[in-house]
């Protein structure tokens, strides 16, 4: 079911790479909002964007498909990686194969 989120201007600016990730993310979880409107520092899970654990799985699969990075289960860093668009984009940039 597409999620509906009230569109408000993000408080923090997206970097070009964050915008790219946001575009893939919106597509992966069928989020009913413009990728531009995602505040890069808003929590993805639970409060904030309101994504759940199945959405997080979809994002992990998207990261694997788009960037060739396999996110491991029970990684202690998962909470940090999936915290926000910014933390996710940061993780992808640091781990994508060159």
């Amino acid at each position: 079911m597409p999620l509906s989120v009230t569109a408000t201007a993000p408080l923090h600016e997206q970097t070009p790479f964050e915008h790219e990730v946001a575009t893939h993310l919106v597509d992966a979880v069928q989020l009913d909002m413009d990728p531009h409107d995602i505040d890069p520092e808003t929590p993805l899970f639970g409060e904030g964007l309101g994504l759940d654990s199945i959405d997080v799985l979809e994002i992990a699969l998207m990261v694997n498909t788009q960037y060739g990075i396999k996110l491991e289960s029970h990684d202690d860093n998962n909470r940090e990686i999936f915290h926000s668009l910014r933390s996710l984009a940061h993780y992808i940039e640091a781990h994508r194969p060159s």
């Binding site: 654990s53 997080v56 289960s73």
Partner: protein, 299 residues
Amino acid sequence: MSANTWLRPEKGNLVIGRLLIWVALHLGYHITALFRWPATLYYATFYPSVRRASWRYLTHLHNVGRGQQPHYGMVLAHIYAYSTNILDRIYLLSGRFPPHKIHIHGRDYLLDALKQQKGCIIMGAHIGSFDVLRYFGIDAPVRFRMLMYRRFLGETSRLIETLAPTFQADLIELGHADSMLTTFNALKQGEVVGILADRAHDDSRSVPVTFLGQTARLPAGPHQLAARTGAPVVLVSAIRQKNGSYHIACRRLTDTLSQGETQSTLHPHILAYARWMEDLCEQNPYAWFNFFDFWEEGL
């Protein structure tokens, strides 16, 4: 989050829990079994929501022609069945339940499903014994893990679970960002994952279906997970028989769900799951262990 009343701290009393376990482990099954009626009367007296939830369920069962006209004796019998379930938990988790009293039927469904090498989802409900269902999973030739929502787990349940040293290791706890990622990877590795798929905890991820004549919300997540992973789904129930043994029955829910399934196309599968639960309730009216406002009608 849904307003579902199961998302509240579980009822129970730690002192009574400790006493019950001590008696069970030192004085034996038959002595401990005598505590069931006082426990039943205690819950029936001091927990009106439990009593009302039981009455509501028995009424719905009767109204769809699958159960007799409810009376208060049935409510007591229902709570009594739950106290028996708790009693058996102590013996099952501490490894003192006689294995010859667990009869597995349809294990081939599981073995056939595993041949596909896509893991397997054992889908159950809060009908009958969750621990016997777990026993069935542990018996599988591959690693078995149980998906559980534990934030509101009561002290008594935690206490009882300490009787099984491997209980925690076999869990995937729901409610974390990476719960489904862990489950997905477990299935990809060919493992068996047990899910009780009758309690919704998120409105956006649940769908309304008719269950015992009334609308109830059932979670779509387990079915979406099945579709996403391609893991076959086997429905499993573990019901206590009158002689104290357990009967495990399996049924295939559907052939493999395909990746393109959306929440709406999954609806028939969720409906099939609801029909399976209805049949179980009709055959075992007191095995329903959802003592909360399941239909969200207000208790």
